[in-house]
Symmetry: D2
């Protein structure tokens, strides 16, 4: 059987599967499951085209990894066939630990455990299944491989993960400002002492990339309507968790398993992992469709509203807006909401772009004279420093016109 | 509340909502449900980007309708504000009658009733709900409005439905050959005696459009892997129907409702419509995920295979291949399949591009001298005639390596 | 000095220069001259974006040749480094023999000699200059190399020349219908016994390619306004030739050299070649600007009209339209044009798409069973046969509103 | 005659000519001349696709003006038909005063006079020719019309001129990072008291626009190779000016007219304007081709080198590099260059992005509460302030390997 397939991709034209092992990994149920996990959570409520999946992103990132390694070889760097395949597999599997709606539910199904940790656990399972074929892949993914640039290409400020998702999210949302010159950046990557660096003349492209990322954060990833949808979905899960604890919610069993109170905070065991590997967006949607008829009026109301896209209203301010909070609290109580129900219908919290500014792994630039410097030390790049300021905003999110019928 | 929203669209940049009524229609649950119905059924098994929905297509077609009417006005044709809105609503709602996976299950959930008929029924319900605001919309949709070009823009060989879906499907699949010059075609549309015509100089664009459509048929819509997925899903539903009749399948109730034997063939009543309005892709996915653990080994096998993308194998031939059929029949029986189970694992049938060649509504061309002729009577267009030949192919579709565990 | 440059290209992103010899050839004056020769002659009179040059097309075709050879290597075919470079050079230089405005003046500056013949002569000069480094390149270009697919990639019905120019011309004109899936076609090319073949599943892409080419012929390359511009420029050159013979035109000398009567029909000698290698579009434009003030009223009128884009009018008919010819003849004579002047202001002739249907080198298809057939023998491809019908049209082209002031 | 044409444009699909007057203006020789003036000067030496002209840019900017005014009307602002046409004409003609190679020769052919001043003079001539039809156009262009937003759309930090040229230059160069979301920005423009403002939610798009512009400055407009070409062309003109003054250069007369010493610094009179209206890129190219054979070895050397793209070498530093200057001076003198010749072969100077930061006309933002503020006063926009820092660089530019043969 010929396993060297090519797959149509609207961004790159074609993605080639370059080895039998890669094909076999793609064919596993745990990877095929990524076909049913939306890359951007609930962003399609705002951007109707944003329906692409983790499956597609994983393939795209693998494609860019291949282009990057080809290019490094062209520049004279030695990369063995084994390293090449391992790097492609590492980026292919980097998001295998994502659950339903990607980030939207990440901290709800298993609080305290990140999707990266789950990726490692699932990659270890696959490694056993494939008799150790993923040993080097795991080393690269966890940063233990001796040549650091492989890990840097998988997870750093300028990794192929970001290169793919910025272009892909921009493409499917139609937010053209998020488009980055991925091909140019890849052509300008180089190695210095086995660390990833950018050639000096690529500095404007990197700045543009950072700026596009920042724009996507505020305009797309933290879009307030999308945020309201996330908060609503979280509220549904919290309500379900409470009803489960009270014994008044019993279905669907395979989803409720993840909402059992005691499980929260504990480490994922084999059964948890096995069940998690079966979970996808459809399980959530099916539950919402079922729960919209539940006798608990809060759960039913939230699910119905969510399905019909009657989302919470939301406001963002620089300081918490207590006056508005009190106003909506009074209004809701007046409309017949009980004190017990209130926390599910009125939410406050904070968002920030801090997540994207973890500065531990800065981008390095290679000067023409061979010197390696941090990119924000380059002259004439006021923006890069300016962009690294963390911005926080406070949100208030409320149900409007309560209608429990 | 400001209802004149703009929506990001990767194809057209922005889609504007141009009236309050249009906004209100989009907000109805029955329309929001289209967010959960894939435009291309199961095509994403082959083209992973093909995840766009009927919701997005409906908005896109509405956008093109607006551009077309703007252009006709620019050419001096009078179109009233009421007609304008009615035409936009008619194309917005033209696919409201689609059920889960669009065409893939169309003849399975209610054999004998087309999605167009269901669209009319659901539009009539909306019309009641909106106190007759859709009267003209319904007239246009059903071809009863006195100015025929409105209906022709909604449903003919060269309607805005096709203009949108060809571009959209081409965009999301990445099959660039399907891209058509929609804007140019729209600029070249005109009216002759209130019938839709194309200016003579647009003849090559129309030919290109027909050719792109033909290519999309064979390369995408009738792609053999997608066809195998459709056949597999149909087999699952047939098996479920049988188990339901035998009393050995009881869940999920809201889906099984559509598989009750007696309901097949009857007209949709109000309850049927109300339940149908709640149905979407997620109900099917959830059922498959549930049924993969069912005790009937055929149902479980089919669902498991489908979820893990272990699809049927398929071959296409010009004549039915009885030898191959017998070979696979023997093989399956040898592998332990019973005669009763066989029809769910081995399928034959016929496909053709006939669907796209129904010639009743041909494209008319307006010569410079004012004469209106059928486009295939224009000289130097050998292709258009050549393309109207109906091609039939026979398929054989089989389960490989049966593994019931 | 690092000669491995990358060049920005709006179609392909980046074009890499992959060897020092290629860099050195690009740096020669005779190649740099292609920067000053419009790829599409006078098409920018109709499509203002069509200003790309033979230089850019040559680089683009070289890029596609590289992609094609990379892909053939991936499929297991052996291609030596020397062959690889020779093939890139052959396509890089395939149009080196083009003169000002490419095809527009091809048969006027040296009647009877094609640009391909001139390409060979200039390549031979370069070969001497580079001490035989282009030996294999010349063999491939002239079809004498023992592995025929190299020549087929340079000059056949489905060569990389066409793949580049269709996409490039489509891109710069904005005629989106001419876009072809070059990357997909390249992925589907293969070799059978060292002859170029297309995989069976590529048949729709090839059909689409042929159709796009046909559309570009009628809508762009033979656009009637562009044709009128070509005829006008030819009329200018004919008038200049006559005035030169009569001794009443003496400048610019370096252009008039090519209009000396005796030179027409003879073979290009070294002096001719040396002067030709210096000629480009700017020489024509400069002459027109100078001649617009010439005392010969026909030459001045034609040049002035051309510069101000007051082009001839033109009509296309299936049969020669003698009545219209006589009408315009009488009109012009009435307006004061003399019988001697008439032929420069009133033109008839024939165009056809025959040029693109020379069937000697048909496209071969490789069936899955290993059989190689002509693509038009494949079933279900009525279009390909239909498209091979040669269409002829007759033109009548006339000056309107003569105004010699 | 139908003057409502549509023109293919690769960026916007089609550009419509919306009035007879606009058509007639486009048909004038002085406007048609823009077809022969490269938008980006000599940038095609670096980016071979950058061959688009002022003609195309003028049409594109007119198209965006139409879209902008349509959008302002949709938002309820009254714009009369006369204003609409005048605004389109003003932007159509805003660059009519550009001469050969746009900015590259701007300060050489008439030092002290900007192309904007020439645009006004030429628009006044057209206005006379069209009996005052451009009165309002001139008012808008010069900022005298009573509604300021028209002038702001023509010439401000966020005018349609910039929106078009950034997208167009990005498109034709292939520098994808320069692409801006022009359509989104246009949708977000509004008026406050007849001044142009941006809606608050457009703030990220504006920031992205400013960033793209900055990137284009450093990566494209001030690209050092393009800069070297500009310097070389200026050196040619300076040498020609000197030879003309010395009586040893006599042709081509119509170009030398502009190099007469006394003319420099004086105001353009009617003859000057008439001759200028005939000048385009081809006159320069033709002169270079002629002068490459001139007896003055410096002029011949510079022209030959320019034609064969053997450009000066160049270095950019933060401080003037006197050491390098002296090195090249000594080298050139050693190679036989005379002290008189030296200034044409060795150049120093300064570039900066100051041109694009003239802060007089800042971008105003409209908050949701109706308040109008400067955009750089908006919170969370560190970049906009950071970008307004003026950066200066010093260049050293020298001839390498002098070869006068």
């Amino acid at each position: 059987m010929n396993k060297r397939k090519i797959i149509n991709d609207p961004l790159y034209g074609f993605i080639s599967i370059t080895s039998d092992l890669i094909f076999d990994i793609i064919e596993t149920p745990v990877f095929q499951r990524l076909r049913r996990i939306n890359q951007m959570g609930l962003a399609d409520f705002v951007y109707p085209g944003a329906l692409h999946t983790r499956f597609h992103h994983a393939l795209g990132a693998m494609h860019l990894m291949g282009r990057t390694l080809d290019n490094l070889r062209d520049k004279g760097h030695s990369i063995s066939a084994e390293e090449y395949e391992a790097a492609l597999l590492a980026i292919l599997l980097h998001d295998i630990g994502h659950g339903p709606f990607s980030h939207s539910l990440e901290q709800i199904l298993l609080p305290g455990t990140s999707h990266e940790e789950l990726s490692v656990l699932l990659m270890q399972q696959l490694n056993e299944q494939f008799d150790g074929a993923l040993d080097m892949t795991l080393q690269m993914f966890t940063g233990q491989y001796q040549r650091p640039f492989f890990h840097q290409l998988i997870a750093s400020q300028l990794d192929v993960d970001r290169l793919d998702y910025l272009n892909r999210d921009s493409f499917f949302t139609g937010v053209s400002e998020g488009t980055i010159g991925a091909e140019r950046i890849i052509k300008l990557l180089d190695l210095a002492d086995d660390h990833l660096v950018v050639e000096e003349k690529g500095v404007y492209s990197v700045e543009h990339f950072l700026n596009a990322r920042r724009l996507m954060y505020w305009q797309v990833y933290l879009h307030k309507t999308g945020l309201a949808a996330d908060i609503m979905l979280a509220a549904i899960m919290q309500r379900a968790r409470k009803l489960l604890a009270a014994g008044s919610l019993t279905e669907p069993e395979h989803l409720l398993y993840f909402l059992v109170a005691e499980r929260s905070g504990s480490s994922p065991d084999n059964e948890w992992l096995a069940r998690f590997s079966q979970l996808d967006d459809h399980d959530i949607w099916a539950a919402l469709k079922q729960w919209q008829h539940h006798e608990d009026r809060i759960l039913a109301y939230l699910c119905r509203s969510f399905l019909h896209r009657r989302l919470f209203k939301i406001s963002l301010t620089n300081q918490p807006d207590e006056q508005a909070y009190n106003h909506h609290k009074q209004r809701l109580l007046t409309e017949g909401v009980s004190n017990e129900e209130l926390p599910y219908l009125l939410h406050t919290g904070e968002i920030s772009n801090a997540a994207y500014i973890h500065t531990s792994k800065t981008i390095k630039m290679l000067r023409k004279n061979g010197e390696v410097v941090n990119i924000d030390e380059a002259t004439d790049l006021p923006n890069i420093k300016a962009m690294s300021r963390i911005v926080r905003k406070h949100y208030l999110c409320w149900a409007k016109h309560i209608d429990f019928t």
